[in-house]
Symmetry: C2
Subunit: 524 residues, 2 copies
């Protein structure tokens, strides 16, 4: 069933002889399929097709593009167990998780479909002419968001469906009117091929142009470099490591024509434990966080990697309970050998940093199957050692023990940009520590109160982003409907005849969308 | 009156001994004032004050910040003739233009004041909790735009008021809640000092924090480098040359923490003359374009530098009339010697390019006072010579003569990103050339029908931006209320108690702003 080809529009090509294989992270066995890395000719073909498809695709109505997105969801569902089993085999994630993630992927496609079918997302704004204005007449000016051109998507290892081939980046770029070229993730080549086939079938069934979607196989850096520096590419989305994302950002900035790169690159997602809440609720908090730290073997971008508390009986109780619950959590297999090896090395390295004590060892010796690691350090040591601020991707957590609340504020102020921060506090503590809340807010894209950072709701109000190094541009999000804004730009039309204006800007508002007319919102 | 100091918050400092002077471009005379370039200590102080001011300023209500912006306008007006005369002396622009530009500057401040007083610009979006949702409860998530931090503004030579010290970049950054550090333009140091004083007085009168605004004197590259690489700076706005803007962009991308740079870098603003319109209306078109090409001695970012027409009697008539009208237009003094020298060299260089013929010589020998230059080339030569696509800043225009409409389309497809493009056509011609309209739209931020690109309306629907190299990021604008979006980022709050939420996100909508609640727009 698995052909190992690059999906290039409606063609499947694989002319290279240097085949690569897919490996099971659970047992190291080779999975079905022999995958052909894209040749330079195949890369150029994908980009040429994308540029050509763009000329047609960008003008399709919201409802036509919505039908395409929905059809992708249907084709994914009709892959049935074949997809679920392949994704499980390639990621070592359990069936429940993959089935849930598939649901999220399909719902995400539906959400973008409903957004573009409704149509107001283009932010149509109209300033009407005032021909007799003094000293100069005012022209009729009408502005809306339009697509930006072919988008390259670098997929995430940790969401083989929801942030991969037909994930949030692809869905938002396609919704906006841009063709997409996905770099197949080396960790789930078979899953990628199955989903890419679903997208290609959906494109054919709904009459989309050849080239609206392609996926290319190849080694991360080499193929990445070719894609990001290709003149036909107009924007890049990436989910992965700081090193990987920053390398693509640097390449894009050095192009003759620089292009925007939205890279979501990781976060330690600090959690601030206020003393009264901790004293009252240590057991529940420990249960929640043992679950959050080990969820998906800690392989979430919102995994809590830092717990900041104030020395107290409550904190001691929380620690004890957390250790116990982490000990009771079984080891889990990581997504691939590279990630497991890096986890082993990074979590071990942290132990040799000054002042770091081990609360719960991983005892991790066998590759890929991993136990959580819980360590602890004083605020004083943490504040002077940037190494301790680094993410260890996986079920690793560092408790920072503060002497008093000023330390907590100092820690908040010292942090780099993060996707999220969480505050565990009773309401009075939060209002008494307004300065701390404000300092935390400054560093992050999302502030969570009395919850856990894992679990990112896909909705209009979600912001999954944050100041660098959480992402390359804190003004954008990769989750939620606003993710579409990464791949569009405004165009204004001045005095253009109504018959030639895009539907969204025509005088009669034929789409019935929300528009801003002379500064006032309405549907008139 | 002119002290020659750096305005750093509420202090005026100038400890350097290396004073620079302001020079009249009209006669080369030295103008009053001896200006002290900012020392490293002064630069650090301005940034330290800005970072400190930010902690307070970012939380001020829209109406307080609006009062500050309006007070800036009032203080600028109360500078009276002193400001007008100094700006005239430094820019060689006539009184009418400076007075008009002052009005535009004040109106721009008022427009941003009204935007933030009304408040809906923060794009508040709320997804309400669904505690009993299966399989997982949905949290309450509320998102809005918040300021990004201290912004450095590099001002434009050609708008000593409206795109300088208190211009659109400053107004939009301050409106968003960010302190601003302006690099004083070397061509209008006195004007800068006067306006900076007005801003400082407005800040004191309206109770703004010390450091919400500073301006620093110094040589372009050296001070620019120090500012853009300073860790306290969170965003950059620039208006000027491609070389200058790209250098700042590169510096910002190489920082340990990269920051967004919005540089508006120029454009040749192509104009497409369709044959029927040209045949019918050659005389009027020539009058409009003789005016547009020479307006402000051609020193507008939207100056039409390229006219693309199809060989015909109409085009010949248009050319003849344009030549005549340009000949009748008196020479004008450019903004400074550097700009005049560059114009002389660049416009002369173009004459030696293959196939370029001169329709109207500048006969420009005396520095600074400049006559327009009109040249012509075939589409064939234009398409193969990228040099001819470059901007010559000033009253220079190149006519590209096409044999047929396919040439016109080829020219549109070959162009780099532009701020604007204009189409002169009768309505039938435009609908018959839909492909050409689409190709043009792809390359620009604003499409103008039967008008001239000069004259940029400051309003909600304006887009003054465009694909690279017109700007460094085609997703943003520097003119109009949307300019504020360059300097903000979204933050989401999950399950935060109502009492601790920002006003814009509170349950009762106390600000009465437009919000998106569960995907529906309204003021409920």
């Amino acid at each position: 069933m698995i052909e190992g080809k690059n999906v290039i529009g409606f063609e499947k090509l694989g002319d290279s002889d240097d085949a690569v294989v897919a490996v099971s992270p659970a047992d190291g066995s080779t999975l079905a399929g022999s995958f052909s890395p894209a040749t330079s000719i195949e890369i150029d073909l994908a980009l040429r097709k994308a540029s050509q498809a763009y000329l047609n695709y960008k003008f399709l109505s919201g409802s036509k593009r919505a039908a395409f997105l929905e059809a992708i969801g249907e084709e994914i569902m009709s892959l049935g167990d074949e997809l679920v089993h392949r994704a499980m085999a390639e990621s070592a994630l359990p069936e429940g998780r993959i089935v849930g993630e598939r649901g999220r992927t399909v719902n995400q496609l539906k959400l973008f479909a409903s957004l573009i079918r409704e149509g107001s997302w283009v932010e149509a704004s109209i300033d009407q002419a005032i021909p007799d204005r003094e000293p100069l007449p005012k022209s009729d000016i009408r502005k809306m968001l339009v697509p930006i051109g072919p988008v390259v998507v670098f997929t995430a290892s940790n969401f083989p469906l929801a942030f991969s081939t037909a994930g949030g980046d692809t869905a938002s770029a396609l919704a906006a009117g841009n063709p997409v070229i996905v770099k197949a993730h080396e960790s789930h080549l078979g899953t990628n091929e199955l989903v890419a086939g679903a997208i290609a079938r959906a494109a054919e069934k709904t009459g989309m142009p050849d080239g609206v979607f392609s996926t290319l196989i190849g080694s991360g850096y080499e193929l990445g470099q070719k894609l990001v520096t290709h003149p036909g590419v107009k924007a890049v989305a990436f989910t992965g490591s700081l090193r990987g994302g920053k390398a693509l950002y640097d390449l894009a900035a050095k192009r003759e024509e620089p292009i925007p790169v939205f890279a979501e690159m990781g976060s330690i997602n600090p959690v601030f434990l206020f003393p009264e809440k901790t004293a009252r609720d240590a057991e529940n908090m420990a249960a929640t966080y043992a679950g959050s730290i080990t969820l998906g073997v800690g392989q979430f971008c919102t995994n809590p990697g830092l717990l900041v508390g104030i020395k107290s009986e409550g904190l001691t109780q929380f620690e004890g309970s957390l250790i116990e619950k982490l000990r009771a959590t079984p080891a889990g297999c990581m997504l691939n050998k590279g990630i497991a090896d890096t986890f082993l090395k990074s979590s071990t390295d942290m132990l040799s940093e000054a002042g770091v004590s081990v609360l719960k060892e991983g005892n991790n010796t066998t590759a890929n199957s991993i136990n959580s690691v819980l360590v602890k350090v004083s605020a004083e040591e943490f504040l002077k050692n940037p190494k301790l601020h680094q993410e260890v991707f996986g079920p690793y957590c560092l408790i920072v023990e503060c002497d008093h609340r000023d330390d907590m504020l100092a820690v908040a102020n010292k942090l780099e940009g993060q996707l999220t921060a969480t505050i565990l506090a009773v309401e009075g503590e939060l209002s008494d520590n307004r300065e701390c809340l404000d300092a935390i807010t400054e560093k992050v894209g999302r502030v969570i109160y009395n919850g856990a950072p894992t679990g990112v709701e896909v909705c209009h109000s979600m912001h999954h982003g944050g100041p660098f190094p959480a992402t390359t541009d804190g003004r954008f999000t990769s989750v939620g409907t606003a993710a579409i804004k990464r791949f569009v730009r405004p165009v204004a039309f001045q005095d253009l005849p109504d018959s030639l204006l895009p539907e969204a800007l025509k005088r009669g508002n034929p789409l019935g969308i929300w528009r801003t007319v002379d500064g006032e919102q309405g549907k008139a």
